[in-house]
């Protein structure tokens, strides 16, 4: 069953995911922000005990992409943290071909990674299944590659999820439903927000921080509409905009930003707001109530932020 690696919940009622994003690892040669970032990942693991880490892109960047990926895989293997990955834009900014990073990830014991079908655009399109005690598929975690910048009729545009990807996840969902029964819910993980994040924000649906522009594709390929047509999507989880962390309920789907996990020195191409506490988004899935998606932020130091309507953004 290519493209699907599985988790079995066994006797556990809950499945917990920690979404880490935009780690921006750039060099391990000197003690620096990279060590703080990994220490934060360890802190999250100990405090929240997630079943799975999902990294929504920009794990590593710049020229040291390869050693950083190796170091991160080694770290995750050493701590026995299972994790999945969807590419961000920076892995490919100056870096080596994705085949090199792909080999490192597939050789790592705790990294669950798949390049995805060749006729689908992108290099990290795959699904991870979560099964219950009766071995019924309860949740599908979709990793989607936003790809790099592209052009449409000569105009540069932020890469959008294209029709080959939309057809892939809608068809794959149908196939899996036939094979493992209906009733599974989907969660999508990718790096760049969908245009609907802006629509939801404009409509006042967002709860949480929106401290910078929502950097989304200029062109809407209908990916969100496809998710609505699937009818089983609980949420979408992205990164990319480092000081945005809001959740917006939009037509029954939770559009979520993660919380930036990486420390990066301000002088080295860092974040617009260096005081912004780093953290992770925690996602709690309940196999007895599959339609309920509980999510909150874990911030460095242990603070929990529940973003609910009527509560002030932190």
């Amino acid at each position: 069953m290519a493209g699907l690696r599985d988790f079995h919940m066994g006797e556990n009622r809950f499945f917990k995911i920690a979404q880490i994003t935009d780690l921006h690892l750039s060099s391990f040669r000197n003690p620096g922000p990279e060590q703080r970032t990994l220490a934060l990942v360890e802190e999250i693991a100990e405090a929240e005990k997630p079943d799975l880490f999902v990294c929504t892109g920009d794990l590593a960047w710049r020229h040291d992409c390869v050693p950083c990926m190796k170091e991160f895989c080694r770290f995750m293997d050493e701590h026995r943290y299972p994790w999945t990955f969807a590419y961000g834009n920076h892995e490919r900014d100056y870096g080596p071909p994705t085949r090199v990073l792909e080999r490192i990830m597939t050789e790592s014991e705790y990294c669950i990674f798949d390049r995805g079908p060749d006729d689908v655009r992108g290099q990290s399109n795959y699904a991870v299944g979560v099964y219950n005690r009766e071995e019924r598929l309860r949740f599908l975690l979709w990793m989607v590659d936003n790809c790099e910048y592209t052009t449409l009729r000569g105009r540069p545009v932020t890469a959008y999820i294209d029709s080959s990807q939309i057809d892939w996840f809608t068809e794959e969902k149908k196939r899996l439903s036939t094979e493992f029964g209906d009733g599974a819910r989907s969660l999508f993980f990718m790096h760049i927000p969908l245009p609907e994040y802006q629509h939801a924000y404009d409509a006042g649906a967002a709860v949480g921080n929106c401290l910078e522009n929502i950097c989304m594709p200029e062109i809407n390929s209908g990916a969100f509409a496809a998710m609505l047509e699937m009818g089983d999507v609980l949420g979408v989880f992205v990164g990319h905009d480092h000081t945005n962390d809001f959740v917006a309920d939009w037509h029954g789907v939770k559009l979520c930003y993660g919380r930036t996990t990486g420390y990066c020195d301000h002088r080295r191409g860092g974040y617009p707001n260096s005081d912004f506490a780093r953290g992770a988004r925690i996602i709690l899935l309940d196999q007895q109530r599959v339609d309920r998606l509980e999510t909150y932020l874990y911030l460095c130091g242990g603070e929990i932020v529940r973003q609910e309507k009527g509560e002030d953004a932190q």
Partner: protein
């Protein structure tokens, strides 16, 4: 007449007359109906189009079927082929859309067919315009993007469906098999979300009577059509009094000119009614102007009188 292929004269531009939002009724709106039908006749006789496109909302009353029959008879009297896509009001009072389809398909001149069965709604189809040698010059796509899944307050939550994109891509794949270069045009009732993006970007010509009443969720039809380099333009209606056009990613996005005098329940018209005329070259260049209710012609931004 074969409904999916027409032969056109390529020695001169094709003249397309776009009618939209006629909102014909039989009751309190009889007066508007007479005025609207007169305008349709005047526009056809005054501009002599090769082809007519009606972008939805032909009827808006309980006797929709009778309206359809009468209108088809009127159009058959001119013998000019006309394409049609459904609007939202066409089905307000209709239990079985199949009855309306039967009437349209019985018309001698109407190009409507139910079309692609897998595509959501009624009447997603393609009409091919060929030259005398059978070479494809224009492909016209009609989509039913006014058959609504849900209502969310005043707005349509989703109009259309990704099945329209799949129909378009598959049909284009077929048409491109023999390697012809041709122009692709889309016809829908509800404006695509990109109309609003284009307006914000600036450079549009014509009137904008309030925000675009597009769907709240974008199903990606514009993206799908833009990815195809042959696409030249998209026509819509729906927003009464709005008649601007512009260019977005190299595609002409065009509003029709509201033709029906009954523009709201009170029957108030906000701007002079009319119809849009487009002269389209075989290469896909468009020059466009309006035919107005008083019989005058106006240029595309509605400021200057023009003569034919």
């Amino acid at each position: 007449m074969k409904r999916d292929v027409l032969t056109i004269d390529t020695s001169r531009p094709l003249r397309l007359l776009q009618l939209t939002d006629l909102h014909l009724g039989l009751h309190f709106d009889q007066k508007y109906r007479r005025l609207t039908e007169k305008l349709v006749r005047d526009a056809i006789e005054g501009t002599s189009p090769d082809l007519i496109a009606l972008t939805g909302d032909l009827a808006w009353c309980p006797e929709t079927e009778r309206i359809y029959r009468d209108f088809c008879a009127l159009m058959d009297g001119y013998g000019i082929p006309w394409g049609f896509c459904f609007g939202n009001h066409d089905r307000d009072y209709v239990k079985d859309v199949r009855c309306l389809e039967d009437i349209l398909e019985a018309s001698e001149t109407c190009l409507y067919t139910n079309g692609c069965e897998e595509a959501f709604g009624y009447g997603n189809y393609c009409v091919r315009l060929e030259d005398g040698n059978g070479k494809l010059i224009h492909a016209l796509y009609f989509f039913d993007n006014a058959w609504v899944h849900h209502y969310d307050g005043m707005h349509h939550l989703t109009c259309g469906s990704l099945s329209h994109n799949r129909f378009f891509r598959a049909n284009q794949h077929e048409l491109k098999r023999n390697g012809d270069r041709f122009c692709v045009w889309g016809f829908v009732h509800v404006p695509l979300m990109e109309y609003a993006d284009m307006w914000r970007q600036g450079g549009c010509v014509g009137l904008r009577n309030g925000p675009e009443a597009h769907a709240l969720v974008n199903t990606g039809l514009f993206c799908t059509m833009a990815e195809d380099k042959l696409t030249k333009g998209i026509f819509c209606g729906h927003d009464h009094g709005t008649c601007y056009s512009g260019e977005y990613y190299g595609i002409r996005l065009i509003y029709g000119r509201t033709t029906g005098f009954n523009q709201s329940k009170g029957g108030v018209t906000v701007t002079p009614c009319g119809a849009r005329v487009c002269d389209i070259t075989p290469q896909g260049e468009v020059s466009t102007f309006f035919f107005l209710e008083d019989g005058t012609l106006r240029n595309a931004d509605d400021t200057l009188k023009v003569d034919l």
